[in-house]
């Protein structure tokens, strides 16, 4: 039997979708309202799914207090109430779409030392969500 534990977290942040590889007109055409030069924000939800053996002494895959403090340090503290384009180093040159936010969060959370990261799911709004499970083994990335 495979068991995955999933925990949901929230942060609020602003971003602007604008690609330096596209002209002003094309940025407006591709990103529409999301290209507003002043940016805009969302209430993001992050789901982190981990797997691993259930420790018979605790009944747990991972202690939630370890999980919460790790996610808080790696993602919530740096992302919450921030302007992602400017305040997150990785988004200086990468457009902070929810796809890229999902990948960046996965890369941060994969360092969790007590269980294996299986999946990150990001909800940008209650209507849009994105999932990333990492690159397949053997891929160049």
């Amino acid at each position: 039997m495979k068991i995955h534990l999933t925990r949901r977290y929230k942060f609020c942040a602003s971003h602007r979708l604008h690609s330096s590889q596209l002209g002003a007109e094309e940025n407006r055409r591709v990103y529409g309202k999301c290209n507003n030069p002043y940016g805009h924000g969302h209430n993001y939800v992050v789901e982190m799914a981990v797997s691993g053996p259930v420790d018979p002494a605790t009944g747990m895959i991972a202690n939630l207090s370890d999980l919460d403090s790790f996610v808080d340090r790696e993602v919530i503290e740096p992302f919450d109430h921030k302007y992602l384009n400017v305040e997150i180093e990785e988004f200086r040159d990468v457009v902070p779409t929810s796809e890229n936010i999902c990948i960046e969060i996965f890369n941060r959370l994969r360092k969790f030392p007590f269980a294996k990261l299986e999946r990150v799911r990001v909800e940008e709004t209650s209507l849009n969500s994105f999932e990333y499970t990492g690159e397949p083994v053997g891929s160049s990335r």
């Binding site: 039997m1 495979k2 995955h4 747990m60």
Partner: protein, 143 residues
């Protein structure tokens, strides 16, 4: 393959305590969940069955039958119970979301005879849930 999901809710209390740990270690590892009087949750269970629709009925399995299985195996056993003391399948285990979900998987898996049990998802709160899946060959390794 079609995946069909049925949701139920049950409310129960539990506490986390390992008799092999000292009182101080129990408090450190389990925090508020170690309160000796217990505490409770409204659990939400989603059970997903995979299968091909029967050409004669258009159904993977009869939802009424699934509802009865869930009532008998889960609700009757766990609803409004103190899980540590009243559910024998959990005896000797810490009744975490992981262990409760695994017990529910083992109770349901042999009872689902039309289609096959694909996933058991148990929410302890809206922000915490556990998924159980089979190991892919139909057999479930008991831990």
């Amino acid at each position: 393959m079609v995946y069909l999901t049925r949701k139920i809710e049950f409310s129960a209390s539990h506490l986390y305590h390992n008799p092999a740990f000292s009182a101080e270690e129990n408090r450190r590892v389990f925090g508020k969940c170690n309160n000796p009087h217990g505490h409770g949750h409204n659990y939400v269970l989603e059970v997903t069955v995979a299968g091909e629709p029967n050409p004669a009925t258009g159904m993977v399995l009869d939802l009424k039958e699934l509802k009865e299985i869930l009532q008998r195996e889960v609700t009757d056993r766990m609803d409004h119970r103190f899980l540590n003391y009243e559910v024998p399948e959990l005896s000797g285990q810490i009744p975490t979301c992981e262990n409760i979900a695994a017990v529910i998987w083992r109770l349901l898996e042999p009872k689902i005879t039309q289609g096959s049990l694909h996933r058991v998802r148990l929410y302890e709160t809206p922000d915490l849930f556990v998924d159980c899946y089979g190991d892919g060959n139909g057999a479930v390794a008991l831990q």
